[in-house]
Every structure is written in C-alpha cells, then in structure tokens.
C-alpha cells in the first residue's frame, strides 16, 4: 500500500494518514508524481480536497485581470509576490518592438497586467524586457522552473514545465485568484499514467512526432484525469527542449500534467541559469532532485507502451490533435467508421476541405508558422534552419518564424539562424504566442491552410476559417519550401 494517501477522500483523516505514513514509510514505493504531491500537501481536511502548496505561479495578460479584480474586491494581497512571475505573451504583436499596438482592447489588457503587477509587487517581464517571451519558454530558460516544484499558470500548456520533473498544470482564472491569495490550491488527487516509450526515435522523427503519435494512439481524452509520466529510452534520449515539447502536448491527450524524471540532462540544463539555485543551495537542490525519480516497483494507475522505433513524422489532417496520420499515409476514409467517429470525421474533413483518402504529401499549403510554446526554442529553430538552409520558400507560401522569447531570438541571431531563414524567404519576427492562437494580428485568412508547429488544430484556432496541420519544425520548414507536406526523411539538406 502506498501510504495513507491513496485512501479515498471519505476515509481520509490527518491522524490516520500520519500514522500509516510513519509505520510504512520505509516500505513506500512512490512515483515521481507522488513524491512531489506528498511533499506539497499543506493540509488534508477530512472530506475535502487536499490543499497543495504552489512553488511557482506564472501569470500572463489574458487569464489574470479578473483574478486581480477579485483580490481587490475582497481586499486581499498577493500572498507570495516572490513566487509569482508575470510576462506578456498571448496578445502582443510580433512586429518590431516599439510599433504601437493597434488593437485597443489588447492594449488595455496589457496595461491592466502592468498596473496589476505594480500594485501587487509582482516581477513582470514586460514588452520591452530583454527576457520577455512565451511564459512556458521563459520559465525554463530563466531557471525559474526546477525539478520537484509545483508550478501553475492560467494556461493549459503549463504542462510544459513537467519536462523538468516538476508537477505543472494549467488552471482557470478563479484558481489564479486562489493561488494569488493563498499560494495554495485545493485539488483532487489525479491518477497516474506511465507512458513507456521503448526503442529510439529514427532520424527525422522528433519529440513533436512522438507527442502526436501518442495522442493519435490514446486519443484527445486518453489521459483525462491522469498525470502522465513519460519514461523509457526514447524519452531519456530527448534533450530538454524535446522533453518540453512532449510534456507541452500532454494536455492535448487530456492529461492534467506530463512529467519526465530529472536526470543529468535536466541538471546540466538548469545549472547557471539566472534564477537557479547557486553554490551551497545548488548542491542541496541537486541532491534533492536526484531523489525524485520513481522508485523501482512503484505502481501507476495505467501504463501505456509505445514502440518509439516504429514512429514516423506525423501530420494532423483534422480538427483535433488526435486526428493524425503518418506523412507517408493518407487522410482517412469515412466508410467503415462507426456512427460517432464517422460524423466527427466528416465534420472535420468538411472544415479542412479535404477529400477522404487523399495522400498527405499531396496536400498543398499557403502558410507556415514556426513558433509557439510547443516548438519555438533554440533547438527547434536550429532544426528548421538546417532544413531551410540553401533552399527557398515556395512562391505560393508565406512563412514566418516566431522565436519563443527574446533570449531565444538573440541566441538564434548570434548563430546566424535569422539570416538562413531570411535568405530562404521566411519572416523573422519578435517573440510571443503569435499565430498559435491568433490573439494578435498574426492570423490565417479564411480558407488558408497552414503547416504549424503549434499544438492545436481546432476549428478557427489560428484565425476564423483557417485550416491548421500540426507538424514538427523540420516538417514545417520542408513544407514551406516544397509548398506541400513532404517526408523530411528524404530531404536534401544543403
């Protein structure tokens, strides 16, 4: 039995939990998730959801204004400004900084965040900050995101931070207000799911393809109610950027969070970053991090096995991330499907303006977006630039590259990646969420078809009537050049 904490809520009382915990402490075998969850339990009131302490709260302009209003109305302060960090990312234009924001409602929302941060004493990486960027890009690159933490943000892609072996999940605005006021959340304990990825990913097959392959297999609600732990040799072999891409997409499988146990790759990434622990604190932190990986023999509520070696580059064809096919495959036929699947497939194909059964490689595109919290980090840009080098974007395609942060942008420019992109005909823009969700001026026009490195292909996500196909950065760059989807494994690198 895994401590008293797996008792149903009705059977829980604090005394019982402590007793069971102490008597069985030596025998307990815990998963990564359980170790972090248990270490952050502040209170377990009988008959109520456990109260979890939150180490880091990331805030952005879209889901926070109503939360700050709630604090003001109740006369409550922000309990821990030093555990709260804000940036602007969703709304901001990717035109050169200093260009006035023409969307007055967006400007008002940004101004609200600025004044709220000032009023409540919160650190803000603002429009003009050299460290501004997508909240899920800057957390890790500033060393704010660390193994063993609980991290929340009013954004579903907070699951990204789980790549470090943190428990990180998205919340709504009421919970944003709750965390601002209490630094805690009342949470029902999620279930655990292990996704064990055996083998190694082949050349040209990336973390994005792994994520799409998993969602294609388990479905967009395959992990609902669960926290996923990604494990196995194919996951161990991923860089931190790759792990972030994988954990980022956990929410697209319905998961509460995704996690990868910290290892040497994690420690090497965090070391020396601006807000990472230093000196004696560093040694202490690393020794704690090394205790976090799941104990041998610990049990999960659900286990899924994936053969990583069998995966290939994927392209989504429909209107959710589970509607996915190998680049060498075809859009599905609808005949032979059950009623519910058939209707969903027909609606998706109608929206996407695709005929059943056509080859994925025969789908032509109008736009390419390389960016988003899924795929806008330096490694993503390097991969895309390697494909673009010496080629030119198809004359019928408009392609843009939006770095995830100012730090990524500077690093890419130091390496000359921007020149490669610009010489190949890609637009090189300022950092932000951009066309992943099209809250700023970067949107698709009705009917336009886009190869996108983002995370959602929902109807209208990138602009009303726009048609989104999710792919990896390499596949997006190759599609920009070819004018249609093409198998990156056959690419002529120059």
């Amino acid at each position: 039995m895994r401590a008293g904490l797996c008792l149903p809520p009705s059977a829980r009382c604090e005394k019982l939990c402590i007793t069971v915990f102490l008597s069985e402490a030596m025998a307990v075998r815990e998963t990564l998730f359980e170790k972090i969850w248990n270490a952050h339990l502040v209170a377990q009131p009988a008959g109520r959801s456990p109260i979890l302490y939150i180490d880091l709260h990331l805030v952005h302009e879209v889901t926070s204004p109503q939360a700050f209003d709630g604090l003001r109305a109740a006369g409550r302060p922000v309990r821990q400004p030093a555990r709260t960090v804000a940036t602007v990312d969703h709304n901001i234009p990717t035109e050169p900084r200093g260009t006035p924001i023409t969307d007055l409602i967006a400007a008002k929302q940004i101004a609200a965040l600025q004044s709220n941060c000032k009023e409540f004493g919160i650190r803000l990486f603002d429009m003009d900050s050299p460290e501004q960027g997508i909240v899920h890009v800057i957390g890790p690159e500033l060393g704010l995101t660390q193994p063993g933490m609980t991290i929340v943000c009013g954004d579903s892609h907070t699951s990204t931070h789980g790549a470090f072996g943190a428990l990180a999940f998205g919340i709504g605005t009421s919970e944003v207000e709750h965390v601002l006021a209490t630094q805690c959340l009342a949470q029902q304990r999620p279930k655990t799911m292990k996704i064990d990825v055996r083998g190694r990913l082949a050349d040209g097959v990336t973390a994005k393809d792994l994520a799409l392959g998993i969602i294609g297999q388990i479905g967009t609600d395959g992990a609902t109610g669960h926290v996923i732990e990604y494990a196995g040799p194919a996951v161990r072999a991923l860089s931190m950027e790759g792990r972030m891409t994988l954990c980022n997409m956990s929410i697209e499988a319905g998961a509460r969070a995704g996690m990868v146990a910290p290892d040497e790759t994690t420690v090497a990434y965090v070391k020396g970053r601006k807000f990472a622990p230093q000196d004696a604190d560093w040694e202490k932190a690393v020794s704690y991090w090394r205790s976090l990986p799941t104990d041998d023999g610990a049990a999960y509520d659900k286990v899924v096995e994936i053969d990583g070696a069998q995966l290939c580059p994927f392209v989504t064809w429909g209107t959710n991330p589970g509607m996915v096919a190998p680049v060498t495959g075809r859009v599905p036929e609808v005949k032979g499907l059950g009623d519910s699947d058939r209707r969903a497939t027909e609606l998706a194909l109608q929206y996407m303006d695709l005929e059943p059964g056509i080859r994925i490689e025969d789908i032509g595109i109008d736009r390419v977006f390389i960016g988003s919290c899924t795929n806008s980090r330096i490694e993503d840009l390097r991969a895309a630039a390697r494909v673009a080098k010496g080629h030119h974007v198809s004359s019928k395609v408009r392609a843009m590259v939006v770095p995830g942060s100012q730090t990524v942008k500077r690093a890419a420019e130091q390496e000359g990646l921007h020149r490669i992109f610009q010489d190949a005909g890609f637009e090189w823009r300022e950092s932000g969420c951009s066309m992943c969700l099209g809250m700023n001026p970067d949107i698709l026009q009705p009917g336009e078809r886009c190869a996108s490195t983002s995370n959602r292909n929902f109807e209208g996500r990138q602009g009303r009537g726009g048609r989104t196909h999710l792919v990896s950065p390499m596949m997006a760059a190759a599609a920009a050049i070819a004018g249609h989807f093409t198998d990156i494994r056959n690419w002529k690198f120059r």
């Binding site: 969703h90 709304n91 709504g172 967009t220 609902t224 519910s340 209208g460 996500r461």
Partner: protein, 205 residues
C-alpha cells in the same frame, strides 16, 4: 458563488464530440478584462457567419431551444485551453449545467468555481437525452444536486457521480479562497519551512 441545489429547465442538444473551448468562446473575445458579457459570443463561429449575421441553422438559435438552461453534448466537452471564459460564456448565455459522458479536467474544475454544474452520465444515457431533446417539444430536465439525480417527466431517471466536497461547495455556494484560508496556520507553518527564494524577491514600488 451562486448555490446550485435543484434546477429545472429546457434542454438544448449539441450533438458533437470534443467540443473545445476555442469553439465555446473564440479567442478574439478573450481580451475583455471583465468576467461578464461573454454570453453574446458563445459558440460565436458556429452561431454567426463571417459577415456577423446569425446562422439560422445553429441549434441554440432554433426557436424551440430558446431559453434553454441545460446543454447536452458528446464526449470530452470543454477540451483544450484553460480559459474560464468558456464557463463564463455558457453561464452568461443562461446555461446552468452541461450534461455529457466525459469532460476535460480544467473545464470541469473551472465550472465548479462558478456554480456551474458538469453532469456526467453514461454514453447511452447521453444519447437518450440527445434524442429526447431533439424529439420532444419543450423538453425539460430536472437536475437535483441534493440527490445527485437527473430526471424528466417522461420517466428518465439517472444518478450522476460528483466529488462530495465539490458538491458541498456547490450546494452552499462556498467561496474556495475563504475555505483554504481556514488553514492559515498550516500554510504559514509550511511557508516557514519552505521560504520563497530570495532571488525572486523584489522591492515593492
């Protein structure tokens, strides 16, 4: 928060699966800084054409479903983004509850903070309710949170599961933050053992 005890109302069927929050409230309406006024934008891209004119054939705008306060929909309702605006839009439009056979986690969580009920029934029960809402004029359901039961006047009766504490909060309209702050001493004790990193402290302006 408005308590939810027993609600009876007209039922609108939305026979689609994986209804995501981008459909419930498209992103162009997320820039408002208030909690109110989102109802007019509910399902905007389905309800309105690109020219801003209403699509006559969208189910919620059929006269027979006017004033509906209970929505019945296919699985995985509310998937996608964490935007609580989706719940605000449904509630502001006049809905008090959604019935489906599965919900996305964050959407379900957000609902409970707004006195809005997500009712989980079995697939066959949801299919039955979709058919009744489509086939019976002014089809009404009663959702009883006291007994955790959904029933109609035609003999449908089903129990639904709900976390006991969530139910307690909904029945009494309790403010979550106040409940958590009842544990002030324990939070303070935890914080004394786990101080915020000094490197993140900034001086107040």
């Amino acid at each position: 928060m408005k308590p939810f005890t027993v609600h009876r109302g007209r039922v609108a069927p939305l026979d689609r699966v994986n209804v995501d929050t981008d459909q419930i409230i498209p992103k162009q309406f997320l820039k408002r800084i208030e909690r109110t006024g989102f109802g007019q934008f509910l399902f905007y891209d389905w309800r309105f054409g690109a020219d801003g004119k209403k699509n006559a054939d969208f189910v919620l705008d059929e006269p027979r479903y006017e004033g509906a306060s209970i929505l019945v929909a296919g699985k995985n309702f509310g998937c996608g983004s964490s935007r609580e605006h989706a719940v605000w839009a449904l509630a502001d439009f006049g809905f008090r509850a959604v019935i489906s056979f599965s919900f996305a986690d964050i959407f379900a969580n957000n609902s409970t903070k707004n006195g809005f009920l997500t009712v989980q029934l079995s697939e066959s029960q949801v299919v039955e309710l979709l058919q009744r809402a489509q086939g019976i004029d002014d089809y009404q359901l009663t959702i009883d949170l006291e007994t955790c039961e959904v029933r109609d006047d035609q003999g449908f009766r089903a129990k639904f599961p709900i976390d006991e504490f969530v139910r307690h909060c909904l029945l009494n309209g309790l403010d979550d933050i106040g409940l958590t702050l009842q544990h002030e001493a324990k939070i303070a004790a935890y914080e004394a053992q786990h101080p915020a990193p000094a490197v993140l402290k900034i001086s107040r302006p």
